[in-house]
């Protein structure tokens, strides 16, 4: 068997000789292009339950970059490097590290899930990478530290819940609330700030109940709530649980207004509940897309770009984050330290309106919009048939002891 043995031996020697060469020489840099390429990162949940939010954000981010590159006005060409945090904190830390340890990435737009964002801020600080949050609303992400690297274009739970209470108590006159929240820091955050807002108005909730992510059966809690006869059931949490709660609420005959936060402002909420979503109220930071100064153009450009998925609630924020980064790079060059300084000073205008980062890097232009689910769509409160009085909120009917007739007419 000398023949094959020789061959194998030869093969091994060749492999041995060439492998280092291969390894050192592969991937030679191409010749200098006209414009230098600058990489910017995007981190969000691209797989798993909230992949739609993440992909919506990614697409919007890409749209902004595309528009900038096509405009020909910039010194650099920008390339998007996406990372999937799976909405899991550990994964988030890993991909944040990966993003930061790539020397070519100069800045990044980061996270939709608050639980992931809060664990990753330390990573960005450790590596000195400027990170702009585009979707996570937990206040501590910006307010809980004084990292210059971390900033945020969207609002926080503080403003959301203040507006929530304002609308429900001051404008619509509800007084009896039962609160359900999820037990993550996100859910607890909503609880904390909503309680604060209620207390300011002298209201104590009738009950507070925690639920875990992934829980499917809420009949026990809802049975208890039903006996307390609240006017409003508030839910601080995300779509998956929110939809189940609303569905079971209706089945059990809990006659109250359902109220949520940005966590349920997603298309999924409406499609998975069908007619049972009708009349639900929720909040979102920023102005509604049609009212945004650049909103309609954004919508049109997004559709023309041919993305398969919708831009979802926080797409526009990701879009603005991209523009902020690019503007900063154009001004001070692709240098992380300089970018941290520059981005920190942001005071600009974009499709969502004015963006101003305060001393914590938080965009403190306080804009929150209330939405109501009408015929399978989230419609801004001021534009809705409910605000105009043509349709009646379930909460109004119930607090007067009447039955509520569902005006749902299909999407």
């Amino acid at each position: 068997m000398k023949g094959p043995l020789r061959l194998v031996g030869l093969g091994i020697i060749i492999l041995l000789v060439f492998s280092p060469l291969l390894v050192f020489n592969y991937g030679c840099k191409p010749k200098e292009e006209e414009k230098k390429v600058v990489k910017i990162g995007f981190i969000g949940p691209l797989t798993g339950k909230y992949s739609k939010m993440g992909i919506g954000g990614l697409n919007s981010f890409k749209l902004a970059v595309m528009q900038q590159n096509n405009s020909g006005k910039n010194k650099y060409i920008y390339e998007v490097v996406p990372f999937d945090d799976e909405c899991v904190p550990q994964k988030g830390v890993e991909v944040a590290t990966k993003c930061c340890s790539d020397p070519e990435i100069v800045a990044a737009a980061t996270h939709y899930c608050s639980m992931v964002a809060i664990s990753c801020v330390d990573v960005y600080h450790k590596f000195g990478l400027p990170a702009i949050v585009w979707g996570a609303v937990l206040p501590d992400i910006t307010y809980g530290n004084d990292y210059k690297e971390v900033s945020r274009v969207n609002g926080t739970q503080v403003e959301q819940n203040e507006f929530n209470a304002h609308l429900m108590v001051d404008e619509l006159g509800f007084k009896k609330f039962c609160i359900i929240h999820d037990t993550t820091d996100y859910g607890r955050g909503h609880l904390k700030y909503f309680l604060k807002a209620l207390k300011k108005r002298g209201i104590e909730p009738l009950s507070i109940d925690g639920i875990t992510i992934g829980q499917k059966d809420f009949t026990t809690i809802l049975t208890k709530i039903k006996a307390l006869k609240p006017e409003v059931v508030y839910f601080g949490g995300l779509t998956a649980e929110g939809a189940l709660i609303k569905s079971q609420m209706d089945k059990l005959g809990v006659k109250a207004q359902f109220l949520g936060t940005s966590g349920i402002k997603s298309d999924d909420f409406n499609t998975s509940l069908g007619e049972h979503a009708e009349g639900t109220i929720c909040m979102l930071d920023g102005a509604p897309i049609e009212k945004m100064p650049g909103g309609l153009e954004f919508k049109k450009a997004y559709e023309e770009a041919g993305f398969k998925e919708p831009y979802e609630a926080y797409g526009p924020f990701a879009y603005c984050a991209a523009n902020i980064i690019i503007k900063a790079v154009e001004k001070v060059g692709p240098d992380r330290e300089k970018l941290v300084e520059e981005i920190d000073k942001t005071d600009t205008e974009d499709i969502i309106g004015r963006i101003h980062f305060n001393e914590y890097g938080q965009n403190d232009v306080p804009l929150v919009t209330a939405y109501v689910s009408q015929d399978g769509q989230w419609v801004p409160w001021e534009d809705s048939l409910y605000a105009k009085g043509e349709r009646e909120l379930p909460g109004f009917a119930y607090r007067e002891g009447r039955e509520w007739v569902n005006p749902y007419q299909g999407p």
């Binding site: 797989t47 798993g48 339950k49 992949s51 739609k52 037990t183 109940d209 925690g210 639920i211 875990t212 992934g214 829980q215 499917k216 059966d217 809420f218 009949t219 026990t220 809690i221 049975t223 006996a227 779509t239 998956a240 939809a243 189940l244 569905s247 079971q248 089945k251 059990l252 005959g253 999924d268 499609t271 998975s272 509940l273 069908g274 049972h276």
Partner: protein
């Protein structure tokens, strides 16, 4: 609410969950009995049952019919989805489960784990808009025009839930009769007890294994359909936890013992229901408390409630 009504509500909730867990747990026991495997993909078969039913509902346009056609189509959808998923169960058994059953039981655990992951992700990736929570229509409400529920001692019992429960119990009884009174049932029990001896008596072992997997998967599919009806929503990862609970229920009852699986399923659900209702913040902890009870149980009755079917060969 009076204590009677709270108590009844607990029992009812527990029963609704219990019937679903039992149907899944039965599968675990069947598979273990007949092939000595722990099939962690079984929870995802449950999920497939829900998704296949949903697809059939849409394809047959069930929601647009009414009256006798409606009832007929409804029954057709249920039976068809059970057959399809039963078939898928056999398919997976042939290509994955049987090959790894030759090794130690733990091998099958990991292999079926991988299979379960693959099935879950396949639905997420390839089913149209798979990562979304999907609405599962309230099919049974149409059967009770006018009235939706009756009130009984202070709690509301919806007719559709009662029907689900009734159907489930009937199926379970039919299964027990099948296993005990028919020839096929006898053959299955024979193979479960001693596969070699059975094949020496002329039993086609492979055929029996296929039949067992078909039945187990079909039952899980039914449970998936019921779950969809009960919660009105399904999502691609609904099988993960269901599988773990089903496995636990089967073990409590004594792995390999069909009756044990049924008892285990109801027991697990009752503990969950009781803890959610009676313990403060119990709703968050209910699964965990059930697990704690499971541990205590196993400490005092290590072979499960009704005992495992095999004894140790020395």
């Amino acid at each position: 609410m009076s204590s009677t009504s709270i108590f009844l509500q607990i029992i009812f909730n527990g029963a609704m969950l219990g019937i679903q867990y039992s149907l899944i747990a039965v599968g675990f026991s069947l598979f273990f009995g007949v092939l000595d495997v722990i099939n962690f993909a079984h929870g995802d078969i449950f999920m497939l049952g829900a998704f296949v039913s949903l697809t059939l509902i849409n394809v047959t346009g069930l929601l647009n019919t009414s009256g006798a056609t409606y009832v007929f189509l409804l029954i057709l959808v249920i039976i068809l989805s059970m057959i399809i998923v039963g078939g898928l169960g056999v398919f997976f058994e042939r290509i994955v489960v049987k090959p790894v059953s030759k090794g130690p039981t733990l091998m099958s655990l990991v292999a079926t784990l991988g299979l379960g992951i693959a099935i879950r992700e396949a639905v997420r990736l390839f089913y149209p808009r798979g990562s979304e929570t999907k609405r599962f229509p309230e099919l049974l409400v149409k059967l009770f025009p006018g009235k939706e529920a009756i009130e009984f001692k202070g709690i509301i019992l919806r007719y559709d839930n009662l029907l689900i429960l009734a159907v489930g119990i009937i199926v379970v009884i039919l299964l027990a009769l099948y296993i005990n009174k028919t020839k096929m049932g006898l053959t299955i029990r024979a193979v479960a007890q001693d596969a070699e001896a059975a094949s020496m008596m002329g039993v086609n072992k492979n055929l029996i294994i296929d039949v067992t997997f078909f039945i187990g998967s079909a039952l899980a599919a039914l449970a998936g359909f019921m779950n969809g009806l009960y919660y009105n929503s399904i999502i691609f990862d609904m099988g993960a936890m269901a599988g773990i609970v089903g496995f636990s229920a089967a073990v409590i009852g004594g792995l390999g013992n069909i009756y044990g699986a049924i008892v285990g399923g109801f027991l697990f659900a009752m503990v969950e229901s009781l803890s959610a209702a009676l313990i403060p913040r119990g709703s968050e902890f209910m699964t965990v408390i059930a697990f704690a009870v499971v541990i205590l149980f196993l400490v005092f009755r290590p072979s499960g409630i009704l005992g495992e079917r095999a004894y140790e060969r020395v």
